[in-house]
């Protein structure tokens, strides 16, 4: 920021994955058009998908995935201790993500079904926020590279690095999409945080709420909407629980 008389330094980042598909990290590596600029902005100290460096001095830790084993808890705590800013990166880290589906089924049954009775250490899927303090959340399954870039630029420049507070409907209407409720589907757009440019509804797929709830949502009104449209409450709950972002609201109901 030469015109303002101060210099910005590259931030040191480390990127780590826990129980996840590593798809969110891949988003960063994948967007080739801006990859050189992105790499100039940050100093990669530890990022399995991009670099062979394995250094422990980082300011910002991007943490992808949910926590499903006890050794992951220890590793996460160590990362927290080193990082100045810990970012919950992607839906699994923010809310537990699809991994949380396993929480519905007894552990023994799961292990029997999936691993055919082998001895596997596992526990119910947890958000990283359940274990350590999270400074910033970037939700999305996967994360939006544009949003990550914007937030990274915000962190480097110390300017605004916030998520939209309004729901997906705003962005969906801006794409001139036909409302999926008009097509007879349950869409979580009215209560899900925007920032994805309504990519799913634009592709005629209902929003499943991967970005979690928008700020101060009107959940009772949404439930009423599903009822008024004579759509299935079970289907609604299924969608709400897929990414585990609406856990608090579902619990309230029960």
């Amino acid at each position: 920021m030469n015109h303002l008389g101060f210099e910005l330094t590259r931030v040191l980042i480390g990127s780590f994955d826990f129980t996840c598909c590593e798809g969110c990290q891949l988003q960063l590596a994948n967007k080739e058009a801006t990859l050189p600029e992105f790499l100039a902005l940050v100093d990669i100290r530890n990022f399995r998908e991009i670099s062979s460096e394995r250094l422990d001095d980082y300011d910002i830790a991007l943490v992808e995935g949910s926590i499903t084993r006890s050794d992951e808890i220890e590793r996460l705590k160590a990362i927290r201790a080193r990082a100045k800013v810990l970012v919950a990166f992607g839906t699994c880290a923010c809310f537990g993500g699809v991994n949380s589906l396993k929480n519905r089924i007894p552990q023994e049954e799961l292990v029997r079904e999936v691993y055919d009775g082998k001895v596997i250490e596992t526990m119910p899927s947890m958000r990283i926020g359940d274990i350590v303090q999270v400074d910033l959340s970037i939700p999305g399954c996967p994360v939006s590279k544009d949003e990550v870039e914007r937030i990274m630029v915000g962190l480097v420049t110390r300017s605004a690095a916030t998520l939209p507070k309004y729901p997906v409907c705003v962005e969906c209407k801006q794409q001139l999409n036909t409302c999926l409720f008009d097509l007879g589907e349950i869409c979580l757009g009215p209560i899900t945080r925007a920032g994805c440019d309504a990519v799913c509804p634009t592709g005629k797929t209902a929003c499943l709420g991967c970005r979690g709830p928008a700020e101060d949502i009107n959940y009772p009104s949404f439930v009423q909407l599903v009822k008024d449209k004579e759509l299935s409450a079970a289907d609604m709950r299924e969608k709400l629980s897929l990414y585990n972002g609406f856990g608090g609201y579902l619990d309230q109901e029960n």
């Binding site: 030469n2 015109h3 801006t34 870039e149 630029v153 507070k165 729901p167 036909t178 009107n218």
Partner: protein
């Protein structure tokens, strides 16, 4: 204004020619709803055949062609110890076909807001001047209430307006450009019969409205009812999703954001169309929110639409297209809210004044 009539096939070839020579937008069926109803939107069109001339109403308005949802205001490029700012407000010409009278009135209202204040917006002006508007009349839908807002007829703000008089269109030509384009096509002077047909058509439209909202004295009502419990009642339904503002032809509130380029060598200032229903619309830098409740924000939107803002001569900006009412998932529509507001007041009146009939 010059009046002519044109046969429907000839009109279609005129539209075809103008659409093929320009960037054009017109009503197109984009979907079929779950009850079998067609869904229309103003979309880019490349031939007259793509245009649904007999469409009912589009889901979204054509507002975004004048006020894009996201618009670049200026660009900064940082140089050594300094910066330069580049402001651009050029707009390529477009043709906009099939606007309803209420839609054209909406554009006229935007003109008042954007161009007639102390700070005319060059961004809007460039787009407005470069848009060729062809209007078309229609029979109102059951929930249209533009007649109540006195926005069901229009006599300016378009280049060409077409009234359907059976096998022909009655054309109101309102610009030299439109007149010279039409020279290539077979037009006729309106006959006595054509004039009668036009009047019949107007009458038929006028008498086809089934939804009426009493808006006289509404500004005062809204002032008096500022603390009415009905706002909380409707606010409890409101999802604060901003849909109403996005589809509205006159909602123009926006937010300005500045973003660094990823290489940090510059930045861009953009405006984003926003909605006063969105949760952080009135939030200030320190975090305080002047309108924290759904009801406060919903009220504010009605206040803007039906009371009007002092700076815009207290003009009501709603045109009565009911797009917001149709699009609202929480089933909030101007007719019900305003009737509720009036009822609330009337019931108050009866509780304070003793009626001789009641014992």
């Amino acid at each position: 204004m010059i009046y002519k009539v044109i046969s429907k096939p000839e009109f279609k070839s005129f539209i075809d020619a103008i659409v093929k020579a320009n960037t054009a937008y017109g009503p197109k069926q984009v979907d079929t709803g779950c009850k079998g109803e067609p869904v229309y939107q103003f979309m880019p069109v490349h031939a007259a055949d793509e245009i649904a001339f007999d469409y009912t109403a589009t889901h979204s308005s054509a507002k975004h062609l004048f006020l894009p949802f996201r618009d670049e205001l200026s660009k900064f490029s940082f140089t050594d110890g300094n910066w330069e700012q580049e402001v651009r407000y050029d707009a390529p010409p477009i043709v906009l076909i099939g606007l309803r009278p209420c839609d054209i009135n909406a554009v006229n209202i935007l003109d008042d807001v954007m161009l007639h204040g102390p700070y005319p917006s060059p961004y809007y002006l460039a787009r407005r001047k470069n848009t060729f508007i062809i209007g078309m009349d229609h029979l109102p839908l059951p929930d249209c209430f533009c007649k109540s807002m006195n926005r069901h007829t229009v006599n300016h703000g378009f280049n060409l307006f077409c009234s359907d008089i059976g096998d022909r269109y009655y054309l109101s030509i309102n610009s030299a450009n439109a007149f010279s384009f039409l020279k290539e096509f077979k037009l006729e002077e309106p006959s006595y019969e054509d004039n009668c047909n036009l009047i019949e058509r107007r009458k038929k439209i006028k008498h086809s409205f089934t939804t009426n909202i009493e808006v006289t004295g509404l500004p005062v009502f809204l002032d008096i009812e500022f603390n009415s419990p009905i706002w909380e009642k409707w606010g409890d339904k409101c999802l604060s999703c901003g849909t109403c503002a996005m589809v509205c032809p006159t909602c123009y509130c926006y937010s300005v954001e500045e973003r660094f380029d990823i290489d940090l060598k510059g930045s861009t200032r953009q405006n984003h169309l926003y909605s006063c229903n969105l949760v952080d619309f009135a939030q200030v830098a320190g975090g305080h929110n002047f309108r924290p409740k759904n009801g406060d924000r919903l009220k504010y939107r009605y206040y803007h639409h039906y009371r009007g803002f002092a700076a815009n001569d207290n003009q009501q900006i709603c045109v009565g297209c009911n797009r917001c009412g149709r699009a609202c998932l929480a089933d909030i529509n101007p007719k019900d809210v305003i009737n509720d507001l009036r009822l609330e007041r009337e019931s108050c009146m009866t509780c304070v004044s003793t009626s001789p009939d009641k014992t």
